[in-house]
């Protein structure tokens, strides 16, 4: 039955609740999730710890001092102990965290942007363009990630920038597949058809309509990418393919710690390991919570 026109001056008979914009709804739901708050707190803590920390807590990370080597935590002047050449562990954790965060965020950002564009183009254009683009993705997926990364890392001499590219290169495949899937379902939506009927070109449709509507999937994936990038960097550094010393790196610290497990110098392993686990768990919590937040919005 058609809704009768309201008399002048009367409010409309039916009014939906005004739709709250996504960027207000999502943080609200996020903050209600205690794990997400904890995760966010951990991330903020580490950003401060790694970048502001060294400004407040000075430690010598360049000159080796064998007299202060291998000291356990609690030794005077070295709250978390020292490593085998005398560097203070606490200071090293701070500086090591810088590369973990920088590489993690940068690699995830690059992988996500590149992968999302790739997936959106492939999914939207379809046809043989899609087939070729996705076969390339499958080809790269055919080599287990670590092998690909190791292959690349063994060819180049690692600097931070190159490592970011190497890690991004092996991780853009995930977002590509994900966004392609989203695009396949999004392109059947009415508003996409409307844009095309109005004469919108492919580029405009993809950039201004498809991608912004896939943002939920993209953002969730990015947080998990950051966690994976941190783990990959740690693995690379552990195997010796990271940035060479005296650069500090959590993976490199673990690598050193391996040599001393028999001596029971547990602090060389536990502190960097704890940092890696905390950061990865924090980003995973954030990702899970974001997933829930975006889903609730879709359900509404």
């Amino acid at each position: 039955m058609p809704i009768p026109d309201p008399a002048p001056g009367e409010p409309l008979a039916q009014q939906d609740e005004p739709a709250r914009p996504m960027w207000r709804l999502v943080p609200q739901i996020l903050l209600r999730n205690k794990l997400a708050v904890a995760g966010l707190g951990v991330v903020v803590f580490f950003v401060l710890f790694c970048f502001i920390g060294p400004l407040l807590y000075h430690s010598n990370q360049e000159l080796a001092n064998l007299r202060t080597a291998d000291l356990p935590p609690g030794s005077p002047g070295f709250p978390l102990g020292t490593d085998d050449v005398g560097y203070d562990e606490l200071g090293r954790l701070m500086i090591g965290g810088q590369s973990a965060l920088e590489v993690g965020l940068a690699a995830a950002a690059i992988a996500t942007v590149f992968g999302s564009l790739w997936g959106a183009v492939a999914g939207y254009l379809g046809g043989w363009v899609d087939v070729i683009m996705m076969r390339i993705v499958d080809t790269l997926l055919a080599t287990p990630g670590l092998f690909l990364v190791l292959l690349l890392a063994s060819i180049i001499t690692p600097t931070e920038g190159l490592l970011i590219l190497v890690i991004a290169f092996s991780s853009w495949l995930g977002p590509a597949r994900l966004v392609r899937g989203e695009t396949l379902s999004l392109r059947t939506r009415d508003y996409v058809q409307a844009v095309r009927m109005m004469g919108g070109g492919n580029r405009r449709t993809i950039l201004r309509h498809i991608l912004p509507n896939a943002i939920g999937v993209i953002v969730v994936n990015t947080t998990f990418q950051i966690a994976d990038a941190v783990l990959t960097l740690a693995a690379l550094s552990f195997l010796g393919f990271g940035i060479p010393p005296p650069h500090a790196d959590w993976g490199g610290m673990l690598s050193k710690g391996t040599d001393f497990t028999a001596n029971d110098y547990w602090w060389m392993i536990v502190w960097p390991g704890l940092c890696i686990v905390l950061i990865v768990v924090a980003f995973n919590f954030l990702g899970d919570a974001l997933q829930d937040a975006f889903e609730v919005r879709l359900r509404k």
Binding site: A142, L151, L239, T261, N263
Partner: protein, 315 residues
Amino acid sequence: MTGYLIRRILQSVLVVVLASFVTFLLTDLLPGGPARAILGPRATEQQIQEFSHANGYDRPIPVQYGIWINNILHGDLGYSVKLNQSVGALIADRLPKTMVLMVISIAVALVVAVPLGIYQARRRDTLGDYAVTSLSFLLYAMPGFLVALLLVLVFSTGLGWFSPTAPQTGDVGQILAQGNALVLPVATLALITIATFSRYVRSSVMENLTQEYVRTALANGAGDGRVMVVHVLRNAMIPIATLLGLSLPSLVAGAAITESVFNYPGMGYTFIGEAEVRDYPVVLGIALVVSVATVVGSLLADIAYATLDPRVKYG
């Protein structure tokens, strides 16, 4: 179904060919090429050029690739100068060791993860479920080598129960005889795999427990146990079957990092070691074997899924 299979197989072959070409290209990026890698940094330019010419390294890439593929089809995977062995012999030596480690680890993981997942599904949202989920989450976030290191620290250095290095030498029989040294590597791999598997089993069993056929079976008088084993598990195991198919590449590639930490001479350990010294024939050979295993694995996983779940129809 047959049409789908044939198409998938053809696509898989294409993917393997492409993957091998990409790998081949990557190893050619090193300045100086394979000649420099073999002759070392002190060789003169003259020697490099002579060596390159004599071994065909100065031919165009597609030609080199063609020669490599041709050799492979004749059973020759190349020769490792650094290790003084043919790549084929090297792989034949390392592959069984990796497979022993991986098969035992996955078997242990299955034996633990399936009951654990069922327990979590039946007692969902209880303290036990939360505890196991948190533990899985934690394990998931730890890099493999960290798990390995912590295990070594606690059980080897601390308690002295197990050896910190895996069995080094000998064939499979001798390796299995040194069970004590296999415990920690297997434990490392199994723990990480259990974290993934148990989550899948948990969600899969939970999903199946809400299905109507469970209600029907219970209404027909079947006991809890029978319902679980005969009905629910058969359906819940389908994703596990696909997971197993997808772990085929790991059977071949091994867990490179775990093998490195425990000094276990398997495929992964060899790959890392030879990649470090730029021993390209070995790196290419192993990468090829791993690619084939990955593609075969995902193909088997798809077939398993389509066979076990009659609801799935492939065009």
